[in-house]
């Protein structure tokens, strides 16, 4: 049975984080695309809308929350699901993420268990 793999866009300015996330997601059968800031991620979405987005907050050029606002404005309020993945762990950030249409919030550092638990919580696994 040929099933198209879900494409996950990993947006983070750290190459190491992108690599770790890619490894975890690929083992679960996701196809992975990477972008190193919000602007490049937006470009990628315009070319081809992914099935899920893992999103860092602090990045040069365009940060995560700006990217999310642009994404929701252009592509609608829910899809694709966005999971923040950031070192910011204050409640105010989580509330801001929710208000702008993120589906989940992962606090760095993360590991396989956490990443996959969060993907399961939003129905991607």
């Amino acid at each position: 049975m040929a099933v198209a793999r879900c494409l996950c866009l990993v947006v983070d300015d750290s190459r190491v984080v992108r690599k770790v996330a890619r490894r975890i997601l690929e083992t679960q059968g996701f196809a992975v695309e990477e972008a190193e800031n919000g602007q490049l991620a937006l470009d990628a979405c315009r070319r081809h809308l992914p099935g899920a987005i893992l999103l860092d907050w602090n990045m040069p050029v365009m940060n995560g929350i700006e990217f999310l606002q642009n994404l929701r404005r252009e592509f609608g309020p829910e899809r694709p699901p966005v999971l923040f993945c950031t070192t910011e762990t204050e409640m105010s950030y989580i509330e801001q993420a929710i208000a702008n249409g993120a589906q989940e919030f992962i606090m760095k550092p993360f590991d396989d268990d956490i990443l996959l638990a969060k993907f399961a919580q939003v129905g991607l696994l």
């Binding site: 762990t89 204050e90 409640m91 929710i98 993120a102 589906q103 606090m107 956490i114 638990a117």
Partner: protein
């Protein structure tokens, strides 16, 4: 470790907590008991076994039982039992009980409290339709140390992330310097208490819902049978038991039957007729009246609370 020492530990654990360890678990004894040696100034595990065999040190015996227990747990573990509780059981019980009756929920191997607080979160989020319904959550475990953590309601970022959805985190937790603390209203909802499942459970009273998850797996067959019988005794006739994913009542007791189509969900069978006891109460509400009388031998799926 000498075979004699191993036999002493195995017997102590089996008698006190039900934990069954085979010789393949020797390494587990070593890794988990070695820290106790330093604490109690005992030279080696053989020495510890000798002390235990003398049977005079209750504190030491308890420490061994606690050290050998696996306390791993997380919020909303496996998700589906909690979704079933939220969407079916809680609604059914609320509809079928008199408004003045409190619902009693029990987390029977509560460890550090995540299971009990998951139930508390569901109850809190159901308050729009639960109204003023009284709900009591009792959470018990044989081990003291995890219960202390449970009572404090303080969790690390890792523990939070493994199971608490973002929306629930915002609603039910406060950020602390290190980690997160459960909201006071949820903490107040749960009563934590030390209790051994191998002892008389009747003082705890009747429960409408029992979560007894991921503890029977550590017991041998006779102990599983005995505990399941005792749980059935504490369960209301139309109550629901939730077990862990690797646990079952099949072949162990005829008093608790799996709910067709709902993994981990078990119901009581009425003792006299062998029919699902639920029918005895099936007149008091719309939710309940949707449940038809049915013999246990021919269970039908999806009837419970699906209206």
């Amino acid at each position: 470790m000498s075979p004699h020492a191993f036999a002493v530990f195995a017997a102590l654990l089996r008698n006190r907590s039900g934990l069954t360890i085979g010789p393949d678990k020797l390494y587990l004894l070593e890794t988990r008991l070695t820290p106790l040696l330093r604490q109690h100034r005992i030279a080696n595990l053989d020495g510890l076994a000798t002390r235990l065999a003398q049977g005079r040190c209750e504190k030491l015996a308890r420490a061994v039982v606690e050290a050998m227990a696996t306390n791993e747990t997380y919020f909303f573990r496996d998700i589906t039992p909690f979704a079933h509780f939220r969407d079916h059981t809680l609604r059914y019980l609320h509809a079928s009980r008199p408004a003045s009756a409190s619902l009693r929920l029990w987390s029977a191997a509560a460890s550090t409290g995540q299971e009990a607080y998951s139930l508390a979160m569901i109850v809190a989020e159901s308050s729009p339709w639960l109204g003023a319904r009284g709900i009591e959550i009792v959470a018990t475990d044989i081990a003291r140390t995890p219960l202390e953590r449970a009572r404090a309601g303080h969790y690390t970022q890792f523990e939070i992330q493994r199971g608490v959805p973002m929306a629930a985190l915002v609603r039910h937790f406060q950020k602390q310097e290190a980690g997160w603390r459960i909201a006071e209203n949820l903490r107040a909802m749960v009563r934590f208490q030390e209790w051994n499942l191998l002892t008389d459970l009747s003082p705890l009273g009747r429960f409408d819902v029992i979560f007894c998850r991921n503890v029977l797996i550590y017991f041998d067959r006779p102990t599983k049978m005995r505990v399941l019988e005792a749980l059935a005794e504490q369960l209301a006739p139309d109550g629901v038991l939730y077990l862990g994913g690797a646990e079952t009542t099949l072949g162990l007791t005829s008093r608790l039957v799996p709910e067709p189509g709902a993994p981990s969900v078990y119901r009581r069978v009425s003792d006299a007729t062998g029919t699902i006891a639920l029918e005895m109460n099936a007149s008091s509400s719309a939710a309940a009246s949707a449940i038809e009388r049915r013999p246990v031998s021919r269970p039908r799926s999806g009837a419970f609370g699906t209206s």
